[in-house]
């Protein structure tokens, strides 16, 4: 090999004994190898930014794929079994005629023994039939025939979520357990579950039950919240929530045109900042979710998360609201009751002077005040009145609300809210609220509230 051949080989990525021997004595080719090395190094050293969101398929897609793979393996295995039966039968003919009678009337097939009898009721629309048939295939493989005798898929009510390759909705089914089998995810009789069907992958489907995420402790419920945020898994969020929160969850996803399992800027860590017991059956948490911004900076999203214990003893996520500290401040506002009657007690938990709730713009256009209030204020608060007021910070909405207290009394509250379009995202606005509890004369409290709010500063 001459120098030209050697250098061509070096640029082509080859380096064998012949080349190495040549390189020991040839300065020109050593320089060429160094040039190749430098090009490689420089190119590899080129900055590649970090992705701004998780790029992995959603857990639902992974789960469905794994189920499909298992099903394919199972079907393959079954075809081997069938082939073996045929071969054995073939060998038997002519040599073991006495076995003919047995072969002609076999017992239950391997498939019958290994799978659950899953049926889809007749008379459904094509769409429902398609979803339930996909579920039928999944359940036949995934459910344990030793525990479950029969499943009848009765109905599928699709959520009106954004169109895409996945459809999701509530499934009604009736289940017959094997005699003596203990209830697990399935119980005897009619029940509902939540199904996601992936139309892009030949109708793969997966069925979930709320009880799959049945938290026995408030911490476990909070962990489901963290899991849902980290995995951007809408289903976990759904399954681990109260019925009221589930309804809200669907509405929120529809508003922002998300599909279940859509990727979101990746939350990579979580922190519990504070815990506040709220009676025996409820617990409030201040938590932080940490994610990377497109600029690679860690962004802390703060949430108030409430969990509550249901009558079935399961803890579920009942409410959560997003807020951000250090973006909105009320200057010189002391915590606790002011000195005079008729003034406002500022609610500043954990040193947070203002609450920030993020809303979609069409929510804003269609009842933003109600949406914001219902999302954050809780079910024990009732919105009495809202009015437009002008503050130095901008045009705000002043809400007068009444909160039912555990002792049967009521507490008047003022919510002063400023809506600000989110930077770089015309689909969402941020709602900043100052909240005050009225401790005396309502009128004086209102004047004081608006006066103090003049010092409200916004730092985008």
């Amino acid at each position: 090999m001459n120098c030209q051949d050697i250098q061509a080989a070096l640029w082509g990525g080859e380096e064998h004994d012949l080349i190495r021997a040549h390189l020991r004595d040839c300065l020109a080719c050593q320089n060429e190898r160094e040039a190749v090395r430098q090009v490689t190094e420089k190119l590899r050293a080129l900055d590649t930014p970090a992705p701004t969101r998780s790029l992995k398929p959603s857990p639902d897609v992974i789960r469905m794929t794994i189920r499909r793979n298992r099903r394919l393996r199972w079907m393959k295995k079954m075809s081997y079994v069938a082939a073996a039966v045929i071969v054995i039968a073939g060998v038997g003919v002519g040599t073991m005629m006495q076995g003919k009678k047995q072969a002609a009337s076999p017992g239950p097939s391997v498939q019958q023994q290994g799978t659950v009898d899953v049926q889809v009721v007749e008379g459904l629309s094509e769409e429902k039939k398609m979803a339930l048939t996909a579920l039928q295939r999944d359940l036949q493989v995934q459910t344990d025939a030793r525990a479950i005798k029969k499943v009848v898929l009765q109905d599928f009510v699709k959520d009106s979520l954004a169109p895409g390759s996945q459809v999701s909705g509530t499934v009604t089914l009736s289940v017959e357990l094997q005699p003596g089998a203990a209830p697990g995810n399935f119980t005897n009789g009619q029940q509902t579950g939540y199904a996601i069907v992936d139309l892009a992958s030949s109708g793969n489907a997966v069925l979930f039950f709320d009880r799959e995420y049945a938290a026995k402790t408030p911490e476990a419920a909070l962990n489901y919240f963290f899991m849902a945020q980290k995995m951007r898994n809408g289903h976990i969020e759904y399954a681990a929530s109260t019925l009221a929160r589930q309804t809200q969850w669907k509405s929120e996803y529809e508003t922002v045109h998300w599909r279940i399992g859509d990727s979101n800027p990746l939350v990579y860590d979580t922190e519990i900042l504070g815990t506040t017991p709220n009676g025996a059956d409820a617990q409030d948490y201040d938590v932080a979710l940490l994610r990377k911004t497109p600029e690679g900076v860690t962004d802390r999203q703060h949430f108030n998360v409430s969990v509550q214990k249901g009558t079935d003893g399961v803890w579920r996520i009942s409410k959560y609201a997003f807020y951000r500290t250090r973006q909105s401040t009320v200057a010189d506002v002391p915590d606790g009751p002011r000195l005079n009657d008729g003034v406002v007690k500022w609610v500043t938990t954990s040193g947070i002077p203002a609450v920030k709730v993020r809303l979609a713009s069409d929510v804003v256009q269609n009842g933003a005040v109600n949406a914001m209030f219902s999302q954050y204020a809780g079910s024990d608060a009732k919105l009495l009145k809202s009015e437009n007021v002008h503050e130095p910070i901008g045009d705000c909405t002043l809400i007068t609300a009444e909160r039912a207290l555990p002792n049967g009394d009521t507490q008047k509250e003022y919510w002063l809210t400023l809506f600000v379009p989110e930077s770089g995202n015309n689909k969402r606005v941020d709602a900043y609220s100052l909240v005050g509890q009225v401790t005396g004369s309502e009128e004086e409290a209102k004047n004081d509230f608006l006066e103090v709010a003049k010092t409200w500063q916004f730092q985008p």
Binding site: E14, N31, A35, L55, K56, R70, S263
Partner: protein, 196 residues
């Protein structure tokens, strides 16, 4: 743990690089990933930086690269069962990135220059003193096929044979182009064997 079975690029701490796989074979990793959610998730985690990096250097656009990488990872997940081991997993994945990128371009009907940052469009080689910009400028100046070859051959350390397989070109064609790229690089910034 490297999940590829050949030619893993030297790890910079962010990629699924390095040939060491301990006692776990690639085949067993793939077999496990096919039937186990955690193993599949881990495999995708390890492939994600490599896939995104290649998508980024092909598209040179953050959002497009994310879209392409997301689609590729979806395909890897759903089509892993069709991987037969005829080529290295590396080659299989890179070919998928390349094909997805081409489909993406076709769908978007975009021209490369439309997506370039302003700073790169306006800078000359002489002005691009910053090393990173300088090399991005090199990538920008090369014809598209040559740029893809440069990314595959040098950035991802694939052999000429693997590049040829991914690009649907003959090995001779790739070798010729690699040499042409070398001459182009030399004319731009080699002096006395050193990269400027």
């Amino acid at each position: 743990m490297c999940v590829t079975n050949g030619g893993c690029p030297a790890s910079n701490g962010t990629e699924a690089g390095g040939e060491e796989r301990g006692s776990v074979s690639l085949e067993s990793i793939i077999q496990q990933a096919l039937v186990d959610e955690t193993a599949m998730s881990k495999l995708l985690d390890e492939l994600e930086p490599m896939v995104f990096r290649m998508a980024f250097h092909l598209s040179r656009h953050q959002q497009d690269a994310e879209d392409i990488a997301q689609e590729v990872l979806y395909k890897i997940c759903t089509r892993l069962s069709s991987y037969r081991g005829d080529s290295s997993l590396n080659t299989w994945v890179y070919a998928m990135v390349m094909n997805t990128y081409r489909d993406f371009l076709r769908k978007k009907k975009i021209r490369q220059t439309e997506e370039l940052p302003e700073t790169l469009r306006t800078q000359s080689f002489e002005e691009a003193t910053n090393d990173r910009l300088f090399w991005q400028k090199v990538l920008q100046e090369l014809p598209e096929v040559d740029r893809h070859i440069l990314v595959l051959r040098f950035q991802n350390d694939l052999s000429v044979r693997e590049v040829a397989s991914i690009m649907n070109l003959s090995e001779a064609n790739v070798k010729t182009r690699v040499f042409r790229i070398k001459d182009r690089l030399r004319s731009l910034f080699f002096k006395g064997g050193e990269v400027l």
